[in-house]
């Protein structure tokens, strides 16, 4: 019995790997409504996929694409009261290459740091900005993180594309840091 199992494994290991991988990946990436046995398979295979860095998800623009334009800025204030706003992810205002190169910036700031759900990113980011400004001999006393948004108007119209429309932005300052000197 053992010998025949071993012979089967030796002769069919490639087929077993392919089949196992397909089942594991389908269970991890297909929506549950279309694969009712997703949960039990995932319980067996998800850890292996994660450990081998084969985890994946393919829900780009799905189930519903976002319907807001978003951008993110920070404002730093100097001791003399001068305030400067630095736009970080106003993608449409960037030249084509920079917009393309900064795709990861859009991901990090617009999809993650901007949200309340990932508030744990705010303080480390401000610390990073402070270090960056100090390296340029700028000594900020206050930094504010600001998110902007405006709804994408429908129905679609050439004059309503982001680079052309003049819909006003909504604005919200969601985090403020003050230097210890300014707090005294």
């Amino acid at each position: 019995m053992l010998r025949s199992v071993s012979r089967f494994l030796r002769s069919r290991w490639r087929v077993l790997i392919v089949t196992g991988y397909v089942i594991a990946v389908c269970a991890s990436s297909l929506p549950g409504d279309f694969l009712p046995i997703k949960a039990p398979i995932n319980a067996l295979t998800a850890r292996i996929l994660v450990a081998a860095n084969l985890w994946q998800s393919w829900d780009m623009f799905a189930p519903s694409p976002r319907s807001d334009d978003i951008k993110f800025s920070y404002i730093y204030q100097l001791a003399d009261g001068t305030r400067t706003e630095v736009s970080v992810t106003d993608m449409v205002s960037m030249p084509y290459f920079e917009r393309w190169q900064k795709e990861r910036w859009r991901k990090f700031f617009n999809d993650h740091l901007r949200t309340d759900a990932e508030a744990y990113l705010w303080s480390p980011y401000v610390n990073y900005v402070v270090k960056d400004l100090r390296s340029k001999s700028i000594e900020p006393v206050q930094i504010e993180l600001v998110r902007y948004w405006r709804a994408a108007e429908t129905p679609i119209n050439p004059s309503l594309r982001a680079s052309k429309r003049s819909t006003p932005w909504m604005k919200y300052m969601f985090y403020r840091w003050r230097s210890s000197e300014s707090q005294r």
Binding site: R14, F34, W58, A62, E103, F108, E118
Partner: protein
């Protein structure tokens, strides 16, 4: 019932044979070359910001990263710990891996280096990943098991058989399973993407592409006005949905294969023009190479 059992057995035998029968090395070799190039482009775009994304003094310091990460993952940080030397290692291994894949020098080792790098930065800051990174990581993993240096590599070039237009029998055959798994992987990408989209109201009512085209985050090169209209946007929405759901099934049938691949290339070229999504269109299109058949003198009807 017996008929069904017979049919199941027949399908199983054909599937086994499809996985086990060695294949022409040219498809996976061409994939490795182009994939290596795309890895290098992706890595060079990441390079200037690596300290910001991944270093201990960057935007995601170790304390915060620890609090949001769980589960074991193989990556360079297992060796280095939270140490910025990992970034230097990533840079060295990334360059070596990308160049090795492109030139076909120690392709399995190069794929391992590239996979280690892609896995490490994916672990260290998952908030900066795009879908192209997923395909790169997965592609590198299975290239570790593929004999992809047989063609279109420096060594085969020196041996004078890099680009020879001979039959598959003459160039020798290699194990098929890594290529098969990557082919199926591409089909799963489309199937999952199509099914997730199908669940969304905007994809079913035809407004999804129009909405995305309105967003500044994704706006890229100028497009003709007629594309940004409700009718054309609905057409593009349903076309995308149908293509993603049909690809995984039609690509396996020889009479449809060329049409499906050409349609896919046009779709991704269009998306690359219209939408600012960094490397995804290029990387996913690179997987199409795995479906090419290079049998120049074959009588096989499946010849691409």
């Amino acid at each position: 019932m017996i008929g069904l059992l017979k049919k199941t057995k027949e399908i199983s035998v054909r599937f086994n044979s499809w996985i086990e029968t060695p294949v022409d090395p040219r498809a996976i070799s061409a994939f490795r070359l182009w994939f290596g190039f795309l890895f290098l482009v992706n890595f060079s775009l990441l390079w200037p910001d690596m300290e910001m994304w991944f270093s201990n003094s960057g935007v995601l310091p170790p304390g915060v990263h620890k609090s949001i990460t769980d589960g074991f993952r193989l990556n360079i940080y297992l060796i280095t710990g939270y140490n910025d030397i990992a970034i230097i290692l990533m840079k060295i291994l990334g360059l070596a891996g990308g160049l090795g894949l492109f030139f076909g020098v120690f392709p399995r080792f190069s794929a391992a280096c590239a996979w280690a790098v892609a896995s490490s930065y994916s672990w260290r800051n998952a908030a900066v990943l795009h879908s192209g990174d997923n395909l790169i990581r997965i592609g590198c993993f299975f290239l570790m098991f593929a004999k992809s240096g047989q063609r279109y590599s420096l060594i085969s070039f020196w041996k004078g058989k890099a680009y020879s237009k001979t039959s598959a029998e003459a160039v020798g055959r290699i194990p098929a399973w890594p290529q098969r798994i990557l082919q199926i992987q591409l089909c799963i990408v489309y199937l999952a993407a199509g099914l997730w989209k199908f669940k969304g109201e905007p994809w079913r009512d035809g407004t999804a592409v129009g909405t995305v085209l309105q967003l500044g985050d994704f706006e890229r090169f100028p497009i003709p006005d007629f594309i940004a209209t409700p009718a054309v946007s609905a057409l593009l929405t349903y076309f995308t949905l149908c293509f993603e759901l049909a690809f995984p099934f039609l690509v396996w049938f020889a009479p449809f294969r060329r049409g499906v691949l050409v349609t896919g290339i046009l779709l991704h070229a269009g998306l690359e023009w219209m939408m600012n999504v960094q490397m995804f269109q290029w990387v996913i299109a690179s997987y199409y190479i795995l479906f090419f058949e290079f049998n120049s003198n074959s009588k096989n009807k499946e010849s691409f």
